[in-house]
Amino acid sequence: MMDKPFAITLDPGSSLANRTGSWRTFRPVYVDRLPPCNAACPAGENIQGWLFHAESGEYEAAWRTLVEHNPLPAIMGRVCYHPCEGACNRQHLDAAVGINAVERFLGDEAIRRGWRFSSDAPPSGKRVLVIGSGPAGLSCAYHLRRLGHAVTIDEAAAQAGGMMRYGIPKYRLPRDILDAEIARLIDFGIELRLNRKVSDVLAAKAEGFDAVFLGVGAHIAKRAYIPAGDANKVLDAVSVLHGMEEAGPPLLGRRVVVYGGGNTALDVARTARRLGAEEAIIVYRRTREKMPAHDFEVEEALQEGITFKWLSTIKEAGEEDILIEKMALDEKGFPQPTGEFERIPADSVVLALGQEADLSLLQNVPGLSIEQGLVKVDATMMTGHAGIFAGGDMVGNERTVTVAVGHGKKAARAIDAWLKGESYVPAAKHELATFERLNTWYYSDAPKTVRPVLDIIRRQSTFDEVLGGLDEGNALFEARRCLSCGNCFECDNCYGVCPDNAVIKLGPGQRFRFNYDYCKGCGICAAECPCGAIKMVPEEI
């Protein structure tokens, strides 16, 4: 005390003794919010999660995160209608992140580099039969295998893939890609038995299986009654497209009329053009706006020279032409006949009016119920018969590869729980990371990379793939357009902007922690977090 300088009585101290955290009325907490892309993905992919790895060029880590949910990225990257992009927050800034294109890049990269699946789950000793090797069956088999179960797929057709092979044309899904992703699943230890049509599900199950997943799809073409002369060919889309894979291209003639307004109608018309038809006309009873087909597909078809007759129904098919009747929309938006007719020349008519499931294998299954041609399942994808689950086209009217993959995954998890005598409860979902949660100031301006489209002439005459892919450079660029909605991507903003140094940086990959001894609760961190990963919650005082 006495040896202190003049007028000094206290030792110097650090302000660390002053715990300013006691001023706080609100406390910041780190949260993970559900990115809208993830929320919109029917396969439940963790898109933001795999983009996070792709952003740093760690493509294998990205692919591995992706395949935790979906084993078919190269296929998805081509045929998925990417509802994720429709939900992407970036669309409010410039354009949605090209999620689907990056997914395709990762899928292709995995094929090129020979990445394989792995699982460290111990064998469960249980056997599951999967009926059908479409996306629903493949996804279910994959997830069951990941969980340690032995899986056998029985497939009626000569090759695996379901509608991905016998429906979706090559120019959208090259078969070497399909083959590679199926081969990887077989390589993972899934048994595939081709040319085995199951005709009685209970008998099949009795051959030593503990549970069954049904993924038989919907392959019976719906017909419409059209009076037709002998010489005119009336075919259906399912057999035309199926024929492309096996029997060989069907003879459609020079002028092909396709009847229907869905994606299948477009695929058949575009296939017909590639087979040499000079004219491919789509006849649809409603308007373009009402068409179930996606707008971009209609656009691509128009570019390929396909023509459309909107608001028209086919009345009869003659030898060299068909008779169509004009329709008009009534005040409720339904098409009504007008009594006005027109003849258009046609060598063949292909019906693309939708498909129904062949459910003959399900006769006499106690408890299992079928409504309007669809098998009823509960929230865990189980049918009314315990131990028999179902998914994909046979259970719903939202019929896409992605929905089928999602069903397969969900069913696999439920089967796993069921086999353990538990009931499957999906993990609680995080709060949605809406656009309002973001501080978009921090994101660089960056337009979307457009995938190259093969030039029109080449496309019309060949079955080459229409859309090109990203290369490593623009895949990285595209991944980095992701805003990482609702999930910390370690931009250090909270760490930097705190006037009280109350944020502790834990190091790469470890994120951050608040030091509540000094945090005054000003909320700058939450306001300046670009991706909305900090929430202010009231203190209990």
């Binding site: 110097p12 952003e55 740093s56 660089s444 140094n501 909320g523």
Partner: protein
Amino acid sequence: MSYQPIKFYQTGTFTVGNRLLPPEQRSVQAQQKRYNSLNSGHRACQGCGEALGARYAIDAAMEATNGRLICANATGCLEVFSTPYPETSWQVPWIHSLFGNTAAVATGIAAALKVKMQKGERRHIRVVAQGGDGGTTDIGFGCLSGMFERNDDVLFICYDNGGYMNTGIQRSSATPPAARTATTPAVGETPGNVFGQGKFVPAIALAHDIPYVATATVADLRDLEAKVRRAMELSGARYLHILVPCPLGWGFASHETIKMARLAKETGLFPVFEAEHGEITAVLPIRHPLPVEEYLKPQKRFAHLFAPRLRTDVLTRLQALADRNIQRYGLLEKP
């Protein structure tokens, strides 16, 4: 712009850090073990822009000088909230001076250090003087101008929060026109601070033709750090004027501090530029141009411009000031 913005995507150099950048391109504030020259436990208000700006600037100066730095500090919030006897938040050799003589104190320290270095007793140690806008543009202005004209080897940093905040928000010569303060109440025909008074000290510093003059805000960290780094590369008199919003004095919510600084810059009311030897060398361009209302409306000190009646006449005059800055400094030009 004083630094090369990183033109790759996601957040580039807009955020404090970026895990995708190589370490040498990251900011000082992003370092896991950073200086924290102004440590936790200080008594600044919640969300104080001055506390933030001071740590940004002094940490950058510490980095640039490898920790060989002495700070002289004018009185004002920065001093009072950081160093109530006997404790301090400073983790840098730091000396308190009076309200008006900081520049002169720093000059003295620099002179002493020069002698000690010539005698071989010390390695090269640099000096920073810092204070609020009151301590800089008003009472400290004589000493500051003297330090400039003698070209003393000092970096003077002014933390501009537009008023005498520490003593209860009185007007300074850096208070913007129309702003309400304790001494410019929002009454009468021309409420708030008077138009046509006050001064913009960066422009006056520029007129001294000193080696370096720059402005910055707490909303553009990378720009601020680059300016401190550049200042420390040069010797002689240097001046850095940082806009540091004050939630208490301006009347906005404590989480809006950085947003206010950003809006001041984006509306053009606060021009961000740098100059060497009297010539402007770079400006930080406006990214998304905005009308001045966007900046004024969230602040209670301008509330009388919006209620009980909308003072379009006053807003027009403030917009004219912003437009003049945009013109004068070329704030809308693409870099």
